[in-house]
């Protein structure tokens, strides 16, 4: 097994989780991840990426907390910003 394989597995697992959460939230709340509103989706993706990818890597790969921890904090901040309804979201 190549040394990069665990990291590729970690990335795929992280994206599967991000996708699952993307999907569940989009079903529950149309205020967040609005289909077609790519600015909102970018924010949502980055927030989930910032939280989940580091978490998965902490389990599978590098444990470089100096990098992963700020990423998770930024992810949570983006999530809080992203959860604020947009004009379009409020109108729905």
């Amino acid at each position: 097994m190549s040394t990069s394989t665990p990291y590729i597995i970690a990335i795929l697992v992280a994206h599967a989780l991000i996708g699952l959460i993307f999907w569940r939230i989009s079903l529950r709340s149309r205020r967040f991840f609005l289909r077609g509103h790519h600015r909102v989706n970018v924010l949502g993706y980055l927030s989930l990426l910032g939280i989940i990818l580091p978490a998965v890597f902490l389990i599978f790969g590098d444990k470089e907390y100096v990098v992963w921890l700020p990423s998770m904090i930024i992810g949570f901040i983006l999530l809080l910003i992203g959860l604020k309804p947009t004009k379009e979201g409020r109108a729905l």
Binding site: S2, I8, I11, W23, H38, N41, V67
Partner: protein, 284 residues
């Protein structure tokens, strides 16, 4: 905008890409020189530990020490013969970093008595030319008051040792290309003896000296300095930041291109980070 079939095909291609990279890695003739151990040595083992574990019988050379010789099979054979090394026992071990510890490529590396190990270390270094050139350059830098007496003495002593080593090999001194390597905490017999082992290079064991040398930016610019992008591959922080950044860039790009489609956002992010991780983590 994109069909589900296309997404599945793309994911499949990504998977195949990952597998093909792995196959190429295994099939590499250079890496084939690594022998398989019955008792795996964990990654993160230091060169010092390797030496200790095998009674200090393992001679360690850094790749750049005789880089030119390795490019030429005849020169390589002559070098090995001059050192009394049987080419059958010469093993190639790829090493990721010497900054903190040596990381062996693959866990199963067995070294037995008399094995010679070729370490390929991705370390920042710069080529300084012949020993005469390096002496002139060091003295000029010293005269400018930018290199301390101690640093000058240390590096000149290293150049002297290189000249002696080159002469011992029966090679003309003017042909030797001197390289400076940064301080490293580990060597086969400890930090102090590290530079005694090397051929054609100086491992600067003082961080202060290295810092002074690095201040000579003209010299570095003229030299063969390892590209800045190597930081993304050679350090844990670089790999971690690079993976997240590649993911974010890929995700945003595909999100915008697909008009905000979350699935394509995921595919773009995953694809970009996989390509990056495959490059960054494979050489470990």
């Amino acid at each position: 905008m994109f069909s589900k079939k296309l997404i599945i095909v793309l994911l499949g291609l990504l998977f195949l890409f990952s597998c093909s990279q792995e196959s190429a890695f295994v099939a590499s003739p250079e890496k084939g020189q690594i022998s398989i151990s019955e008792t795996p040595i964990d990654q993160g083992v230091t060169a010092r530990e390797i030496g200790t574990a095998h009674g200090n019988l393992v001679k360690i050379f850094m790749n750049n020490l005789f880089n030119d010789a390795l490019q030429d099979p005849a020169a390589k054979a002559r070098f090995l013969a001059n050192n009394g090394v049987d080419s059958q026992t010469f093993k190639t071990v790829f090493i990721k970093s010497v900054n903190e510890y040596f990381v062996l490529e693959g866990k199963n590396v067995r070294m037995t008595e008399g094995d010679y190990v070729y370490l390929e270390a991705n370390v920042p270094r710069f080529r300084t030319g012949s020993s005469a050139e390096i002496r002139a350059r060091l003295r000029s830098f010293h005269e400018q008051g930018r290199l301390s007496d101690h640093a000058l003495a240390q590096v000149i002593a290293g150049v002297d040792r290189i000249d002696q080593a080159v002469s011992k090999q029966g090679l003309p001194i003017e042909d030797a290309q001197v390289l400076l390597a940064p301080p490293t905490p580990y060597g086969p017999n400890g930090p102090e003896e590290f530079d005694v082992q090397v051929f054609n290079a100086i491992a600067v064991n003082s961080a202060q000296t290295w810092s002074e040398l690095m201040a000579d930016t003209d010299w570095i610019n003229d030299a063969e300095l390892v590209g800045w992008w190597h930081w993304f591959r050679d350090s844990e922080k670089g790999r971690a930041i690079g993976t997240i950044a590649a993911d974010a860039v890929g995700g945003i790009a595909f999100c915008v291109l697909s008009g905000g489609n979350p699935i394509w956002t995921l595919v773009g992010g995953a694809g970009a980070s996989i390509v990056f991780a495959n490059w960054a983590y494979q050489g470990m």
